[in-house]
Structures are given as structure tokens and as C-alpha cells.
């Protein structure tokens, strides 16, 4: 029992942090925001030069091995820069689903291309999906980076299929999205032929757990960055003749951010570890991590705007990138209330 990074994990964290800090700059992110929300150059570098895209995918399936802890480390670093990348849909959800539940042929067909960044995948979950055999009707209005995807993993609560973007009956519509670093697309399936994954239950579980942990880790990184940047501002900004960081109310607000962030950090790595170790607590932990880290991020990003005063409310300042990403993470993949109700069901049984 040792709840600190191994040397290897610390090295991955350092590598990822350096990579995103250097490359996922505000300027580049804003360029991506004005287009499809993907910094293509960054994505290629991440997948091919840095070679971190295979983390969390078994080596047998062409991945780099390791687990959700390492995936979380990377997502945390990407989240700290609000990097414009299709990591969530393509790697954490679609690739995880195929790696956990795809047939060897499906894995061989798709995983190398997803991990190289050559192909972007989207993840479409529709609890009410109508599946007539493998002919699918339904869809989702909020598919992350869906307009950039060449293939989709489509899931219901029990089934999982691969659907290429050119499948007959599939319509993808890009949406103007509040968080421009991860725009949604509406993906509509009207009698689309899907290729079923071999083990849909495993695929769905893997995708959802990895999805929850990934957005939670992104949220952790974003929250910490919001704090760090505000701390920097507090030291340099003078008002009423004093560094604003010398005002106790300001200090306490920063302290409150740190209190939440430290808990979010425990939550994210508890969840990642629990899934990796196959712990009984895994389900409790992933719902805890998603709901807690998302709320922490939103609180910290909101404070980042507030504590920057007027400038924090401008388009020019990066605070709104954090704020909008935080809100998106709160509402995607189940709201905080939904996750907590899942936990309540475990403890208290179903509601009335």
C-alpha cells in the first residue's frame, strides 16, 4: 500500500507536463477553437513523437500497457492547458472500448490508426438506442469532437458497435459549442448497420470508467492550473496600494480552492488505482471522482474569473477557457447529481 507515484509515473507526469506546457499554448488553442477544436499538429506530436497515446491500452492490442493511473496523469497535464485534443472520445472512450471488448480483428483494424492519431474516433452513447439486430437507430446530440471523427463506437446500455462515418444512414452535424476546445456534434443514426464488438459489456464498462476518470483528471489539472495562475496574479497585482494576495479574503478563497483540489487529487488517483487493481471500490471511486473533480474544477475556474476582476471576464484572458471546460465536464457523462445518486443507490438502495 503506497499512495504516491512510482518513479516511472513521476517521469510520465513530468514528460506530459512539459509537452503540454510548451506546445498547448493559448495561441495555438485559440486557433483550434476558431476551427474544429483540434490542434492537429499537437495531436500528431502527442500520438507519434511523444508516443503517449497507447497508454492504458494493453500491449497485446498494440498499446503501451500501463493503466488508468498513467492515463489520468496525461489527462491531468492536458487539462491543465485546456489542450484542444480529441483524447477523450478517441482514446479514453472509443479506443478503450475496442481494446476491452473488440474482437482481435477489430482491434487490429482500428487501434493502430487511433493510437497513431491518423484516425479520430467518436464515442456515441444512447441509452435508448434501438437495435434491430445490428441495425441501429438513435444517436446523441453531444458527441465530443464528433464532427472530426472518421469512425464511431456506438453503445446502448447493453450493446456496442463500430460505425464508420460514411455508413449509410449516419448523419453528423457540427454544433456551435460553449467550450470551443471540445465542440459537440450531433450524430444521428437512422437504420445504420453497425459492426458489433465481441464483448459489449466489457467495452461499455471500460469506456465509461476510463471516460469518468479521464474527465476527472482533466478537471484536476484544470483546477490546479486555475489556482496556480490565480496565485501568480495575486502576487503581482496591486490594488488599494497592496498586493491583492495580501488581502485575507483573497487568501482564504485561494485556500478553499486548494482544499478542494487536494481532495480531487485523492479522488482521481483513488479511482484510477481502484479500476487498475480491480478493487471492489472501483464503481464508488469512479462516480466519486467524476462528480467531485468536476465540481472542484467549476468552483476553481469560477474563482479564477472572480479573483482576476474585470480582466478575468474578457475573451482575451484564458480564464474563460477553463471556466467553459469546467462547465462542460460537469454536464457531460452524467451530471454530479446523477453520479451521486448512483452512489446513494449503492449505499441506500434505490429511491422510492
Amino acid at each position: 500500500m503506497e499512495f504516491v507515484f512510482t518513479d516511472e509515473q513521476a517521469m510520465i507526469a513530468e514528460t506530459a507536463r512539459a509537452f503540454f506546457t510548451e506546445n498547448a499554448t493559448s495561441e495555438r488553442t485559440r486557433k483550434a477553437m476558431a476551427a474544429d477544436g483540434i490542434d492537429a499538429e499537437l495531436w500528431t506530436a502527442f500520438c507519434q513523437e511523444l508516443g503517449l497515446s497507447g497508454i492504458g491500452i494493453p500491449e497485446s492490442a498494440g498499446g503501451a500497457g500501463l493503466g488508468l493511473v498513467e492515463l489520468a496523469i496525461i489527462a491531468e497535464a492536458a487539462g491543465a492547458q485546456v489542450a484542444a485534443l480529441p483524447m477523450l472520445g478517441s482514446l479514453a472512450m472509443a479506443a478503450q472500448a475496442i481494446a476491452a471488448g473488440g474482437t482481435p480483428e477489430q482491434q487490429a483494424e482500428w487501434l493502430p490508426r487511433l493510437l497513431s492519431g491518423e484516425v479520430v474516433a467518436g464515442y456515441v452513447h444512447d441509452a435508448a438506442l434501438a437495435a434491430n439486430g445490428d441495425v441501429l437507430t438513435g444517436g446523441d446530440r453531444f458527441v465530443a469532437h464528433g464532427a472530426s471523427a472518421q469512425v464511431f463506437v456506438v453503445t446502448s446500455n447493453t450493446g456496442a458497435w463500430i460505425v464508420p462515418v460514411d455508413a449509410a444512414g449516419l448523419a453528423v452535424t457540427a454544433q456551435t459549442t460553449m467550450d470551443q476546445t471540445r465542440p459537440y456534434a450531433q450524430v444521428a443514426l437512422a437504420g445504420v448497420q453497425g459492426a458489433p464488438l465481441g464483448n459489449p459489456a466489457a467495452a461499455i464498462e471500460a469506456a465509461h470508467r476510463a471516460g469518468f476518470v479521464t474527465v476527472a483528471a482533466e478537471a484536476l489539472g484544470g483546477a490546479q492550473a486555475a489556482l496556480d495562475r490565480t496565485v501568480g496574479y495575486a502576487k503581482e497585482r496591486v490594488q488599494f496600494g497592496r498586493a491583492i494576495g495580501s488581502f485575507q479574503a483573497y487568501k482564504h478563497r485561494l485556500a478553499d480552492m486548494m482544499i478542494e483540489i487536494e481532495q480531487a487529487r485523492s479522488a482521481v488517483y483513488w479511482a484510477a488505482c481502484a479500476v487498475d487493481e480491480g478493487s471492489d471500490e472501483a464503481e464508488l471511486a469512479v462516480h466519486s471522482a467524476k462528480s467531485f473533480a468536476a465540481d472542484t474544477y467549476f468552483m476553481c475556474a469560477g474563482n479564477m474569473i472572480q479573483l482576476h476582476g474585470g480582466i478575468g471576464f474578457t475573451w482575451e484572458h484564458d480564464a474563460h477557457l477553463y471556466f467553459k471546460r469546467a462547465r462542460a465536464i460537469q454536464s457531460m457523462l452524467g451530471s454530479g447529481n446523477w453520479h451521486r445518486e448512483r452512489i446513494a443507490s449503492m449505499i441506500l438502495g434505490d429511491a422510492a
Binding site: T177, Y184, Q239, F240, G241, A249, I305, G310, G312, W315
Partner: protein
Amino acid sequence: MKLGFSREDELFRAECADWLNGQMAGEFKDIKGITKLTACPERRKEWEQQLAAYKWSCIGWPEEWGGRNASLAHQVIFAEEYARAGVPGRVNHIGVELAGPTILAFGTEAQKQRFLPDIAAGKTIFCQGFSEPGAGSDLASVRTKARLEGGEWVVNGQKIWTSLAHISDWIFVVSRSEEGSKGPKGLTFLMMEIDQPGIEIRGIKQINGDAEFNETFFTDARCPADSLIGAPGEGWKIAMGLLAFERGVSTLGQQMGFRNELDEIIAAAKANGAAKDPLIRQRIAKAEIGLNLMRYGALRMLSQTDHSKIDGAALTYKIQWASWRRNLGELAMDVLGQAAEVAEGAEYEWDTLPNLFLYSRADTIYGGTNQIQRNLIAERGLGMPREPRGDV
């Protein structure tokens, strides 16, 4: 203590409603329901003039300056019916609610003649130049300089957060007229015409994609020597007096705008089923309670005629509405769910509720952050020691 309105008041209410609804169904139906402050400024200037033509532009003002000398009850009623009818916010809010009353209180007879009729007529649109970059809400840190030169004030410096400056005709500017003065001393309150070579306005794009605010640059900007309100060096006093006017009847109009926002949320919750969620129900009930308490707080504040004592309702009003509205924005998002994060068109433009969510983050900042409000409340309302200024 009496909350009800008299029969005469109710007749007046009907008169207001009739006229406003008639306008919004007729000549001005194209602007009905607009909530965005920057939308269609030209039509809204016409609307100001229409109000004036029917003597509705500044009913609380004395009759000699174009008002109706209306009672508090009538002002309340007009503000309520204005918002209820879906009439867009006043583009000359600053002129009617702040500049006008300031001139009435502190201006010379000539200044009254010069400005009041045009403000009342909707011909002169005002904006305010208080905040500066690096000074935020700290008026005592003003660095914009003014000097008298050849019978004119010459102004150099920069203001920020000058709301609607780009559609305004005049700006009032708090500037430092005494070289080397510090803090509240040595400030002067000037009225300046905006359309001149020395004034440049640049929009500040906000997080909602809109640009209501501006930076305003003064480079040897000029105004005649008699453009100052009060005496040179009295700028602090004038500015403080002006800020007191901010807590006027217009707050009730503002609240009716909030009412519309909450009603939109209620309608959305009923439509999408969120109204069945006990957690949402609690939050909507809290919002409803809070809105009513703002209304009755404002009525307490306005009913208070003894201005010698500090009025708790007035002192706490700003942070109360700002916090309420920020919560309202979050409630709106939770009611709408992910759908709120997707806009209709290809432009980055937001419907009322998502826009409320984004815009309300500014409510707790401008006009004194919530932190500064709490200082004021503790110091002025509760007699706690003042936060010491530094000398950095």
C-alpha cells in the same frame, strides 16, 4: 407599513401597461423581448425618444426638466410594467439614472439647461468613465489626468469597462486634476463629448462573445473649462453622490428583468421535465424567494426617508442581487442540461439563459466585487476597522 397599492396607483399601472404594450405590439414591436444590451442601438435610441415624446423617459424627475415628479409608488409601478411588457433595457440608463440626477444635485443652472432637456428627450446618451486598468473598483487610484489649458480641460489617460461607450454621445470622467495628489483628493468630475479626435474607443470582447464594455483612451482630449461638475478637486464627492443614485427605483426595473429570466427557467423546467426533480424544485423555490426578498428589500430601501442612518437593505443590495443572479445562471444551466452548451447558429451567440450564465460572472465583479462589497458592509454597516491601504 403597507405593501398594497392604492386604487389610484392601480389605475396608473393600467395606464403604463396599456401604453407600453401598445408600443411593443405596434411601432416598436421589432425590439420587444430583446435582452442583449448591445442589440440594435439605433432603434433603441429611437425608443428613448418615443418614451420622451410621451413623457415616460424620466418620470421621477421634476416636471420642469421633463419628468412627472412621480411618487415612489408610481415609479415602482412604471419600472415593473416596463419590464413586464418585454421592453428592452434603456440605452440611456446612465443618462437618466446617474448623469441627470448628478447634474440636478450638483450642476450649475447652465449645466442643467445644457444637459437635462436633451437627456430627458433621449437625444444625449451618456456613459460613465470611472474604472481604469490596474485600478478596478478603486476610484482613489485614478490616474487619468486633466489640466486646464487655454480655457479648456485637456485629458490624458485611459478608462476601462465603459459600458456602451461606443453608442454614447457623452461620457463623464473622473480625472486627477492636481498634479501629485493622491487618493480621493485632487479629483475632478468632467463631462466630455465623445465624438472628438482625442477620444478613442475599443470594444472589449467578453466571455459570452459579446462586446458591451469598452476601453476608452484619452489623448489630449478636450472639453470647455465649464464642463466640470462641482469644483476642481471635488470629483470624489460628486462620484460618491452619483453612486448613491445607483440604488434608485431602477433597481426594481432590473428586478423585473430578473423576473423574466426566472420565468424563462421555470418554463424550460416545465417543458423538459426538470420541474419534477426535487433538487431543481428546491433551487427554483430558493430563486423565487430570493427574488421576492430583493423586491421587498428595494421597497424598504426606497421607503426609507431618513437618510441620516445607514440603511442595511441598501448596503447589502448589490451583493445580494449579484450573487442571486450568478446562482440563477447556474440553475438555468442545470435545468437545460447539456443542451444549454450548444448554440443554434454557426455564430458564437447565446440565447438568454446560457448568456445569463456567462454574463452573470461579471455581475459579482463590476460596480465593486463581492469582496469589496463585504468590506463596505462590515466597515460602514457594522463599524469594523477599515482595511488598511498599502503604499506599494
